[in-house]
């Protein structure tokens, strides 16, 4: 009765009300930024006095924005590749290995998710300053890889646990070498896990702000760092248009993942 809408009585209207308000609350900033980015008011008047695309043009006419987008793409892509390269073998060891301290190792691999990112950030900040690596591509990749790796390990471990190892052994019995069996049987079977690992690693790097703030130099900034430094100065509408592009990207990724999930669910 409390878990059945039709038999719940008038109480359900309270739930409906809270539900609708929460949905509006969750949508409010997202929809608002999108509307604002097309508004012509420099002072963020709402509703805007007119409509324009000039804030989008401003992004692409400013080499600093374009450069930061490009830096973000390069860093995130490198992080994604390295995260799979390190995470995939690690996941194999975690799932199939029978060595002492396996649970501990698993906990260690996901520990970057638990340590507050500000602590990682200042620890790395002091560390890279010592080696003169601040503001370098390597520093960004290393920092972002720390927070991306747990996603990669978790995704691949999950899908590998769902894969029956005897299928791989069957391939070996049929004459495949160990490597052939892994590359032609096991990896294709867990490809959805690897794909999610790559996606989450890319996004973890792409959205990372705090580590970026501490790794950046005036000459090398990722997109979130550029947004952060701009936001600290003023609330220019250019941020709204950058944000809207990011929201559009989020929606595209959501549609792709929903589509893939549906395809693989069959």
């Amino acid at each position: 009765m409390l878990l059945n809408l039709n038999r719940m009585g008038p109480g359900r209207y309270v739930l409906y009300g809270i539900g609708v308000l929460t949905a509006l609350f969750l949508l409010l900033p997202v929809a608002f930024i999108a509307a604002l980015s097309f508004g012509s008011s420099q002072w963020l008047q709402f509703p805007p006095p007119g409509w324009t695309l000039k804030w989008y043009a401003a992004i692409f006419n400013d080499p600093r924005w374009v450069e930061s987008i490009w830096t973000s793409v390069k860093v995130a892509f490198t992080v994604m590749v390295l995260s799979i390269a390190l995470g995939l073998p690690a996941a194999f060891a975690l799932v199939r290995g029978k060595f002492p301290g396996r649970t501990l190792l698993h906990a260690f691999f996901i520990s970057p998710m638990i340590v507050p990112v500000i602590i990682l950030a200042i620890a790395l900040y002091v560390f890279v300053l010592k080696f003169g690596l601040n503001g370098t591509f390597i520093a960004f990749v290393a920092a972002h890889l720390i927070v991306a790796l747990p996603f990669s390990v978790i995704c691949i471990v999950n899908s590998l646990e769902g894969f029956d190892e005897s299928t791989e052994k069957a391939a070996i019995v049929c004459g495949a070498t160990k490597a052939e069996a892994i590359f032609r049987v096991t990896l294709p079977a867990i490809r959805l896990g690897i794909f999610s690992a790559a996606l989450f690693s890319f996004l973890a790097s792409w959205d990372e702000v705090v580590l970026g703030i501490f790794m950046a130099s005036p000459t090398l900034q990722t997109l979130p760092v550029r947004m952060w430094t701009t936001l600290r100065q003023d609330l220019t509408p250019v941020i709204a248009s950058v944000s809207t592009l990011l929201i559009a990207l989020t929606i595209v990724i959501m549609i792709i993942t929903a589509f893939l999930r549906r395809r693989y669910a069959r």
Binding site: M1, A93, I154, V210
Partner: protein
């Protein structure tokens, strides 16, 4: 004889290896995390007890000085407040999602995912613009006639609470929804048949049964909120600075590395204590 061995179809099927050799594939990741996480964190710990001078001076001044102690207290108050507000909103929403027809709840889940996956700075920027003195919210409230003067909604406790609640909501709604959907309706029917009123069923049956989800969600939000940096820095004020902001300020602007690292380790210790309680209560399996 040799031919017989090489024709053996089982030749590639080695006996399962036991021992540390199976650890080898994990080595690259292990070494990476060791060099870029364990070493920097350890040297930070070292800094906290050696700079400016050897000893526990940094920790003593952090816990003894009224200014720093207030930052610590603020951090706990804000984290607790955000957790409470988030729970109060998330519970009815998770409940509603558990009983709505799946067509409708799917739309709601899409909204949750959209807000969760939108860039953190984009969301925070949205709130900065919405909440400012001349922002839409103040204008709307004045337009309706609820207030005469714009409310101070940003650079204070209200701003941080709204911004952080917004970010944390999905992290409570999702686990709570899983718990509530898992409750067997027959248990509540049994309570109803034996004469319990809906209110009694809620307080004595449904709420206790959803405690695991409440615990998991709240603990997660509380721990995340303790160490949050970006949103408090942009929506909060100087008078309610949180620990993460203070750490960043000490290290980056004031070059007070010793004190900053000591504060970082206090935050880490507190986080790990709460995390240990969480794992104890819920089990490591659920955390993954």
């Amino acid at each position: 004889m040799f031919e017989a061995i090489s024709n053996n179809p089982y030749r590639n099927l080695r006996a399962p290896r036991v021992g540390l050799r199976r650890l080898r594939p994990a080595l690259p990741a292990l070494i990476f995390l060791f060099v870029f996480m364990v070493v920097p964190l350890s040297s930070l710990l070292l800094l906290s007890v050696t700079k400016p001078e050897t000893g526990l001076g940094n920790y003593i001044s952090l816990l003894g000085d009224a200014t720093y102690a207030r930052v610590l207290l603020n951090t706990f108050i804000i984290a607790a407040l955000v957790t409470l507000v988030t729970l109060v909103i998330a519970y009815p929403v998770a409940w509603l999602l558990a009983i709505l027809p799946s067509r409708v709840s799917q739309i709601f889940f899409a909204i949750i995912l959209l807000s969760m996956w939108t860039n953190l700075l984009a969301r925070t920027y949205g709130w900065m613009v919405l909440l400012q003195r001349t922002g839409v919210i103040n204008r709307a409230l004045m337009g309706v006639g609820l207030i005469d003067q714009p409310l101070p909604l940003i650079n204070n406790l209200a701003g941080v609470t709204i911004g952080m609640t917004y970010i944390m909501l999905p992290y409570v709604i999702l686990p709570l929804h899983a718990t509530i959907s898992g409750i067997d309706p027959a248990i509540m029917q049994a309570a109803a048949i034996t004469g319990a009123k809906p209110r009694q069923i809620f307080w004595h049956v449904m709420l206790p049964l959803s405690l695991p989800g409440i615990g998991a969600g709240c603990m997660m939000v509380f721990v995340m909120a303790l160490g949050y940096y970006v949103t408090p820095a942009l929506l909060g004020g100087t008078s309610n600075m949180m620990l993460a902001e203070m750490i960043a300020q000490q290290v980056q602007s004031l070059l007070n590395w010793g004190l900053g690292s000591a504060a970082a380790f206090i935050l880490l210790a507190v986080t790990l204590v709460f995390y240990a309680i969480y794992v104890r209560a819920i089990g490591l399996g659920r955390v993954r």
